[in-house]
């Protein structure tokens, strides 16, 4: 068999010398200082071939033998094991081409289908007590920071609550699971959000923006109920968790500016998830409005009011957690004509 030139590193020190190596059936023979030594193949270890890198062969005594790689040597060391076949894919033109096509497809399928499906499954199994505590603590934290007690008088509040109770009952939902909380805020502006336990917080600013129109506010509240009914909070938690783990593994070993890249893609992915949930909540609200026999126009009006607050730019399609208001208004109006 062919004679290979190699470098032998002594066990336990930085010394090395040039050696000649033969790879026989079942044993490795090497010549150092004119003397031939032989090692049984079963006592050697070597990680699978990697590119054109020289092969590192660990000897039983802790010494390290380094030999330039070639086909025959790779075959002798790696055989036909699983790791050898996976390693061979890395240098095989068809293996690379197949990966180049399949990897993006699988990634797309992972983010588009697998993770959302996983999240829906996860949301079903979250215990009610977790949901309860999470909601209470979130509201408590918000009350400590961004929210102040409502400045609406008690009569107005009761008026809204009665109207709301009526709506909930008409839709056949349990009135006990949805309660409204009014809050005043300088920082959040006109806003409404649902906590996963069914508590819906409305800011005074939103009530003012909607000109105290109960029907328009009702459309907004139905949208928030949509989030609760579909357990969106829990889905979003699961989706965010899984996708940030996946992205951090994909970009994990990049440093510097690439972190920005990873951060940006996390935001983009997150926003796409979030927008999908908003659409689902919108559709829920529109369907319920139909059920109540109210026009879908009240929803469109609410969106128009919100749209009047700030000019939008086309960048928002990617940078915002909500779909563009323009599209949402169109969606409500278009369905109404159907």
């Amino acid at each position: 068999m062919q004679l290979y030139q190699g470098k032998l590193y002594a066990p336990g020190s930085s010394q090395s010398c040039e050696v000649q190596v033969r790879f026989e059936t079942g044993e490795l023979c090497l010549q150092a200082d004119g003397v031939w030594h032989s090692y049984e193949k079963s006592g050697l270890s070597s990680p699978a071939a990697l590119g054109r890198m020289p092969r590192e062969i660990r000897l039983p005594d802790g010494g390290l033998l380094q030999v330039a790689a070639d086909k025959a040597l790779n075959q002798w060391l790696d055989g036909d094991g699983l790791s050898a076949r996976l390693a061979a894919m890395e240098t095989n033109r068809w293996g690379i081409l197949a990966s180049l096509i399949l990897a993006p497809l699988c990634l797309f399928a992972l983010f588009k289908y697998a993770i959302p499906a996983l999240a829906i499954g996860f949301a079903q199994y979250v215990p009610q007590s977790y949901v309860q505590i999470a909601s209470e603590h979130t509201l408590l934290a918000l009350d400590q920071s961004l929210l102040d007690p409502s400045e609406l008088d008690a009569a107005t509040q009761k008026d809204y609550l009665d109207y709301w109770q009526n709506t909930v009952t008409q839709l056949g939902l349990s009135p006990a699971s949805y309660h409204i909380q009014f809050r005043h805020t300088e920082t959040l502006g006109p806003n409404a959000f649902a906590l996963p336990d069914g508590t819906i917080v409305i800011t005074d600013q939103l009530v003012t923006l909607l000109d105290n129109d109960k029907e328009v506010l009702q459309a907004v509240l139905l949208h928030e109920i949509g989030h609760v009914e579909h357990r969106h909070s829990m889905r979003l938690i699961a989706q965010t968790l899984v996708s940030s783990v996946v992205i951090s593994y994909m970009f994990g070993d990049l440093s510097g500016m690439a972190d920005l890249f990873a951060g940006a893609s996390t935001t983009l992915v997150q926003n796409q998830f979030s927008q999908e949930l908003e659409w689902q909540a919108d559709d829920y609200a529109l369907t319920q409005l139909d059920k109540l026999g109210k026009g879908r126009d009240s929803f469109a009006q609410a969106m128009e009011k919100l749209a009047s607050l700030a000019p939008s730019s086309s960048m928002e399609r990617w940078l915002s957690s909500h779909p563009m208001l323009k599209d949402r208004i169109q969606n409500a109006r278009q369905d109404a004509q159907d």
Binding site: G51, I96, A141, L241, M315
Partner: protein, 403 residues
């Protein structure tokens, strides 16, 4: 005649004695003197040689990186696919293969580096990392208060994680069949990564360069190659020069570029209607992002090049190796900007070339000077630490290496 004990004579005294001695009258004594003279001269020569060897390199040469973008592309894309279809399990194998590729293709003085971690060690660390991260994540949604407590605990553990991670990564790196190691104490890590940063905050970060220097001394001065310790001799002034230089670059760029761009966009918006206003807002957002990227890249490249060169030029392994680094600020900044554009416009597919280009630049900027005892380093054996700490710090993004 009395015999004279020449063993106490210095070379100079022996020379004097030989000159004054009548060789023909006392041949035995002359012969003895000659012998002593020869011995002393040989001794002096050896001492001279030894002294020179400790400081003068036997050889010197630049590091060479043998990896190629195309070759690594195949490795990367196949491992990426396998990682995805195994739902992340194969990523531990992928990480080992990637590290082996980059270590094993880096050559210094004719010898290559090795990466020795086993995939199962990495996998174990990753599973614990994901569990911890997931636990923290779910707890943070359960209650902001619980999240704050967990965060405090993690911050408190950070110095330990840093030390364990450094130890693992260095233990898994070998050169000439001798492993590296890290001997930094966890107590010192608490001072450097927890207490001093808080103190530095109190001085409005004016003492930050001092802290960064102390951190580098900790990170590199505790590094070992076999039984030899790396010695550093860093200067605080260099850290101030690098930090102030980086700050000046950032400030200049934001004034010189951002100001005119803002003005132009403002003028354009002022002349148009509402539609143009939102377009202008979009343009200014993009422009601001680009300038920010440019600013951060240039400033951080300046800092990194300065500090890396200073660090390498003032670190050595006694009698084994000395280093020299001449990484250019502009070369680094240019590479980073080009890499970013390559990544963005190839939708990430240029990643293998990016990694190879970076490895190439750092290798060619580094010179190794081999000293007399490079062959005599002895490996130190200790139990294998596991990969948990490194993975945990990875996923919480607490990797603190600055160079």
């Amino acid at each position: 005649m009395q015999p004279i004990d020449y063993s106490t004579y210095s070379l100079k005294e022996l020379n004097e004695a030989r000159k004054t001695l009548d060789g023909e009258a006392h041949p035995e004594r002359a012969a003895e003197l000659e012998q002593w003279l020869e011995k002393r001269i040989a001794e002096q020569h050896d001492a001279e040689l030894a002294r020179r060897n400790e400081t003068d390199p036997l050889r010197k040469g630049r590091l060479v990186f043998h990896g190629e973008g195309r070759e690594f592309f195949g490795i990367w894309i196949v491992n990426l696919l396998l990682s995805i279809v195994t739902l992340g399990i194969y990523s531990a194998w992928a990480k080992v293969r990637t590290n082996r590729y980059f270590y094993g293709n880096l050559e210094a003085d004719g010898h290559r580096f090795s990466y020795l971690a086993e995939p199962l060690q990495i996998l174990k660390g990753r599973i614990i990392g994901v569990l911890l991260f997931g636990g923290y994540f779910l707890a943070s949604y359960l209650s902001p208060f619980v999240a704050a407590i967990i965060m405090l605990v993690l911050v408190g553990l950070m110095p330990v994680l840093i030390c364990l991670s450094l130890r693992f990564n260095l233990r898994m790196t070998a050169y000439r069949n001798v492993r590296f190691g890290f001997k930094g104490s966890i107590g010192r890590a608490y001072l450097l990564f927890l207490l001093y940063p808080i103190l530095s905050l109190l001085t409005l970060y004016l003492t930050m360069p001092i802290l960064l220097k102390k951190i580098d001394e900790f990170l590199y001065g505790n590094m070992r190659f076999g039984d030899r310790q790396v010695q550093t001799n860093l200067r605080t002034g260099e850290y101030y020069v690098a930090a102030i230089g980086a700050a000046i670059i950032a400030a200049l760029l934001s004034v010189v570029i951002m100001f005119p761009v803002g003005l132009l966009v403002g003028l354009a918006a002022g002349g148009g209607d509402m539609q143009d206003g939102s377009a202008a807002a979009t343009i200014i957002t993009i422009a601001a992002m680009l300038v920010y990227i440019l600013m951060i890249t240039l400033a951080s490249s300046y800092y990194q090049a300065q500090i890396r060169n200073h660090l390498f030029n003032n670190s050595r392994i006694d009698k084994v190796a000395a280093f020299h680094s001449d990484l250019g600020f502009w070369a680094l900044a240019k590479l980073r900007l080009a890499n970013l554009f390559m990544l963005v416009f190839s939708l990430g597919l240029a990643y293998p070339w990016v990694k190879v280009r970076v490895a190439n630049l750092f290798a060619t900027a580094t010179e190794l000077q081999v000293l007399a005892e490079a062959d005599q380093v002895v490996a130190v054996h200790s139990a294998d630490p596991n990969a948990i700490a490194e993975e945990v710090s990875d996923i919480f993004d607490m990797d603190i290496g600055l160079t």
